[in-house]
Amino acid sequence: MSAAGLGGRRALITGASRGIGRAAATALAAEGVRVAINYARSDAEAAAVVESIRAHGGVAEPVKADVADSQAIGAMFDHLKRCWGGIDILVNNAAATHDGYLMMLSDSAWDDVLATNLRGAFVCARHAVRSMIAGHWGRVINVISPAGIVGKDGAANYAASKGGLLSMGKSLAREVARYGITVNAVCPGLIDTQLIATLPAPTREQYLGQIPIQRFGTPEEVADAIAFLASERARYITGATLTVDGGLTMI
């Protein structure tokens, strides 16, 4: 057992082929957790994550499923149940964006983002909680966004999905607390992923000026917060939001 008390646990991380999901899977695997690497599209990226974790002595398996597809989620959980008997830790990280000002936003741009970010997380949690109740232990960690708390112009669909994910998590936290299951949110600020890397230099500078710690965060720093919430040390924390943003929002 590692210091985090997670040795032998089983985790599913959605959207784990890159960015924060990849870092979270890597961090949990380093604590002795068996990690299922969920991804929707890139077999090669997911295989690279699995290989990297295995090279460091961890246990990782790729599980392909688009979380916007509830049937695919069902098949993924059936598979995890047959193989591992269920999961103990769910990290709802998979997310999509389809930006546009609300006045110009199509129904499909709204529905697609909500289907992945909110319904996908809900369906994953619905499956996961069954095996967590069986084991009287569980962790659900939802990756949200400052947009879900303070809104974001040009991304009402994304903001609504993240705000919904936050309150869905709090509701679930109340329902399953008696079974040793905690449900929390991690709220990353501006993290140095592909999105930030492609911004024009003046925009990057403008963003940096708003961060008291004066740099973008790393996926690993968000993963550290996720690994903490998954650990035994966080056993009395539920319904909480852990903000990891260098002081950007202080909410």
Binding site: A36, E61, P62, V63, K64, A65, A75, M76, H79, L80, R82, C83, W84, G85, V129, R130, I133, A134, E175, V176, R178, Y179
Partner: protein
């Protein structure tokens, strides 16, 4: 899906309704840790949750999981749950009607 594994097989066939009802009562008492309740005192026709045993509807979540784990019968949603947990009789009937493929007569 790339993960490889073997199918777990821990469900067994249940044929006798009275035997099943007693088993369900024991499952309730042991699974939900109703230490002061004698399984034989649980009435067949009374609602399992909210009244009678003093269990609330969140306790039902664990019974859903126990029924699936131990009897291989899935109670998929709230609507089915309300019917199945109406009484021990109702739960036994639901289980007998929904046993896993290969089980039963």
């Amino acid at each position: 899906m790339i993960l490889r594994c073997e199918t777990r097989q821990n469900e067994e066939t249940i044929l006798d309704r009275n035997e099943l009802k007693l088993r369900l009562k024991r499952l309730l008492v042991d699974g939900l840790k109703l230490e002061s309740v004698d399984p034989n005192d649980i009435q067949d026709a009374e609602p399992i949750f909210v009244e009678g045993l003093g269990l609330d509807s969140i306790d039902a979540l664990e019974l859903v999981v126990l029924v699936e784990e131990q009897l291989g019968v899935v109670i998929p949603d709230e609507e089915v749950g309300k019917l199945a947990f109406a009484s021990i009789n109702a739960l036994a009937d639901y289980i007998l009607a929904n046993q896993p493929a290969g089980a039963g007569a």
